[in-house]
Structures are given as C-alpha cells and as structure tokens.
C-alpha cells in the first residue's frame, strides 16, 4: 500500500455520456417548442368586410316596411305606392308583382262571360226541340230528348258549379279587399299615431327649449341683479371707507385757532396696500400754512389708514384726494 496508489484514484465520472445525451435532448425539446409551440404568424390577417351604413334609422325602418308587402294581398298598388315613395329601394321589385296578379284575376271573368252565352243557346235549343217532340213522338227522338235533358242537366250543374266558384271567388276578393282596407286603416292609424308622437315630441322639445330660454333669462336677470348689487355694495364700501379715512384724519388734526372764514385744503395721497402712506402732496393750499401743515401731519399720524379687507378694492384707494374743511 502506498500513497501513490491512492493518488492514482481517478474519478470515475458516472454517466457522463448520458449527461451529454440528455443535454442534447433538452435542446431538441426547446427548439421543438420554439418551432411548433409558438404560433408564429404564418397567415396574413384576413380583411374584414364591413357594411357601412350612412343612415342608421333607415335600417331600423326597412324591416318594418318590407314586412307588410308579403302580408298584403298583391293586387293593392295604391297602398304600396305611397310607402315606396319615402323608401325607393326595397319595395321596387315588388310592385310589378301586384300588376301581374291583377291581370290574372280578370281572366276568369271573361270565361264567365263566355259560358253564359253557351247557356242561352241551350235554353233556345230546349225551346226549339219541344215543338219537334210534339210533332214527332218517336222513341228515338224521346231517347235523344232524354239524352239532351241529361246533357242539359249536366250543363246546368256545371253552370251552377261555375256560379258557385265565381261567388266564392268574389267573396274571397271582397274579403281580400276588406283585409286590404283594414291594413290600410291600421297603417293610417299607425302613421297618425307616429305623427302624433312626433308632434308630441316636437312640442315637448319646444317646451324644453322655452323652459331653457326662460331659465337662461332668469339666470341672466339674476346675474345682472347680483352684479348691480355687488356694484352697489362696492360703491357703498368705498364711500364708507373714504368717510372712515377722512374721519380718522380729521380726528388727528390739531386745528390752528382762529382762522378767518372756512379755508379748504386738498391733498393727493398715494397709498400702499395695507394702509401705509407712500406720498402726500399738497394739491390745493388753503392759504394758511399752519392749517396745511396741521392737516399734513394729521394724515401722517393717522397711518395706517383704514382700508376695505377686499384687496380688489385697493385700486380705488391707491390715489386718494383728501379735502379737509376748517369748519365742518
């Protein structure tokens, strides 16, 4: 036993080949996923076919109006035509049909007309052979007569049948006409109803408009009133504060005694926001310097001058003209 033996222990790596195979397998799976799993865009998107309707309400009306024609008995053109006017497209193919059907019913009528003439000759024949019977009462003639009678009876039966058929047809026609009339009446009623509805709607709209107009007018009046009130308030406020300013100044004046007459002094005062005095200029002297200086001192003493709390009104007070009378 030597260490070299141990050192030579080589690491037998288990299944290194299997590892390689597995690695390749993993990649094959991944590639397969990429190719088949992801649905790569193979087909261009197919263009959508969309019908563009310029007017939506038409599409709603059409089904309503196209339905009646099949219900209506075909011969009625008058009822169809007025409806086809607002809507030219769908009813057009149908009107020709009623004409065709109309031409058909008359056909049986001529047939009827042709059959009656046949009757009449028969009757005439009946009348004619009778005298012959009396003249020649032969067996053969009797047989012939019998045959003729039978024939006549048959003809009469046929005629009756035809008459019945005609009656039935006429009845049907009448019924159809009645139905048509009913339809027309219903339609007219519907139309009237729709018209009424429309009128009501229009009236409602008009009422709404009037109401809105009224409301607007009222609102405008209110606004005007409010504005006027605001203006009044503002002017009141301004005059009030001007009076306050004057009173404050007047209270600070130390009047020089015994001035003759009632001298008046005018000052132009520039104010700062907050009531501070920026500048005081003598715009019109009273002629008595003592009075002028007394008023000027009083103005400076009375700062800050009372100003309205609303800063927007300050513009009215930026340049103040203050007139002070010696005697009130």
């Amino acid at each position: 036993m030597s260490v070299s033996v141990l050192r030579n222990f080589s690491h037998s790596e288990p299944k290194s080949l299997l590892a390689g195979v597995l690695a390749v397998l993993v990649h094959l799976v991944f590639v397969a996923l990429m190719i088949f799993g992801l649905n790569w865009k193979d087909h261009p998107p197919e263009g959508m076919i969309v019908d563009i309707w310029t007017e939506l309400p038409k599409s709603v009306q059409e089904p309503v109006k196209t339905q009646p024609p099949p219900k209506q008995p075909k011969p009625v053109q008058e009822s169809v035509k007025p409806k086809s006017e607002p809507e030219p497209e769908p009813p057009k193919p149908e009107p020709p049909k009623p004409e065709l059907t109309k031409s058909e019913p008359p056909k049986p009528a001529p047939q009827k007309a042709t059959t009656p003439p046949i009757k009449k000759p028969d009757i005439a024949m009946k009348e004619k052979p009778e005298p012959i019977k009396e003249a020649k009462p032969d067996v053969e003639e009797q047989k012939k007569k019998e045959r003729e009678k039978i024939k006549e009876q048959e003809r009469l039966k046929e005629l009756e049948k035809q008459k019945e058929l005609e009656k039935k047809k006429e009845l049907e026609k009448q019924k159809e006409l009645e139905k048509q009339k009913e339809f027309e009446k219903q339609k007219e009623l519907e139309k009237q109803k729709e018209l009424q509805k429309q009128k009501e709607k229009e009236q409602a709209v008009q009422r709404q408009r009037e109401q809105e107009a009224k409301a607007q007018r009222e609102a405008e009046a209110k606004r005007a009133a409010q504005q006027a009130a605001a203006r009044n308030q503002i002017t009141n406020e301004i005059s009030k504060y001007k009076a306050m300013i004057l009173a404050k100044i007047r209270s600070r004046i130390v009047m020089p005694p015994d001035l003759p007459g009632n001298p008046v002094v005018e000052f132009n005062v520039t104010l700062l926001p907050g009531g501070d005095i920026l500048d005081v200029r003598l715009s019109k002297s009273s002629g008595h310097t003592a009075f002028d200086s007394a008023v000027e001192r009083a103005i400076f003493l009375s700062k800050p001058l009372p100003l309205p709390p609303d800063p927007t009104l300050f513009n009215e007070f930026r340049n103040l003209n203050i007139t002070v009378h010696y005697r009130e």
Partner: protein, 226 residues
Amino acid sequence: MSTTVTQDMSFLHLISSASLLVQLVMLILVMISLLSWWFIFRKLFVIRNEIKKTDDFEDIFWRGADMNALYQRTTSARYDSGSMERIFAAGFSEFNKHPPGSDLEAVMDSTRRAMRATYQREMDYLESHLSFLATVGSVSPYIGLLGTVWGIMNSFRSLSSVTQATIAHVAPGIAEALIATAMGLFAAIPAVVAYNRYASGTDQLATRFESFMEELSNVLQRRAAG
C-alpha cells in the same frame, strides 16, 4: 426587410435571415447552452452519487466496522469508492505507515495532512465545472443582448429608406433579434439555478468531510494511545 406585410415568420426562417453577427451570437449561445446543460447533468449525477456514497460509508463506519476491512475494501474497489472513503483511506494508510511507538503528535499531524490533501483533491473534483456554470449564468444574457441590440439596430436602419414606417417593417427584425435574447436566457437560467444548487450541495459535502476528518483523527488518536 421587404415591404410586403406578409413575412415568413417561421422560427427557422427568422434564424436563417438574421444578419451574420446575430447568427454568430446564436451559434455561440447554442454551444454554450449545450455545454452548460452537459455539465449540469454531469454534476447532477456526480453530486447525487457522491451524497449517496457518503451516506453509505458513514453508515458503515459508524456502525463500528473494522477499519482494516474498510481500508481493504476501499483500495480494492478503486473506481467505485466515494470521496469520504478515499479520505479515510489516505488518513488510515498514513497513520499505519508510522511504526508503533513513534511520537503520537507527529503521527496525528501527518495523518491529518494526508487527509486534508485528499480532501482538497476531492473538493476540487466535486467543484469542477461549477465556475463554468456560474460564468454561463452571468454572461450568456449579455451575449444574447448583444445579438438583440445588433439585430434591432439593423432593423431600424432599414427603416431609414422607407417613407412610411410601419410596424411591419421592423417586426421581423426585432423578432429575429429577440431570439438571441431568448437563447441567452435559456442558457443562463438553468445554469444559474444549477450553480446555486450544486454549490450548496458541495458545501454540505465539504462540511461532512471536514467533520468526518476531525472525528476520524480522534478515533485514530485513541487507538494509538489505547
């Protein structure tokens, strides 16, 4: 890029129509991915095998098996032995080389050294290729990104000649470029996961080996003293 809207967007067509550099990047990434997966599976088998063998050996050793018999078994079954067995064999043979009566301290020192040397070698073996996995995990996304950026640059450059730029002009180029990033991530994600897992696995094994070495040296010292 052609001006037609309907492009062949199949995976293979995208790869084959990519620019040269992008194709090169893809090739590199495929190679890296293959290699890293190979190492992932190899390390998986190796570490799983190692853990199993360590479990078995510890089981046998601590059940009180005869050390001489164990040593015989280890040396005879060279290629089938686990790391812990080899550490034990190295220590035991070193311990036995010293004639009885020699200095115990010196004997134990040399035994420990022999075991440590084997331990280092074993750990080196177990941790081999793990650094490769770490490198793949950190670098291959960047390689893929390089390919993607290059491909997108190209696809946008082709837009300059078109008056009306639509997404259809750019889409195929970007798609083919993004395949490079996908490949990079495909290589990186498993590599990072595997690296973390195997690193913790080898760390656990290392602590087991070290504690076994300490315990074995204690046992041998008692044996020499007794």
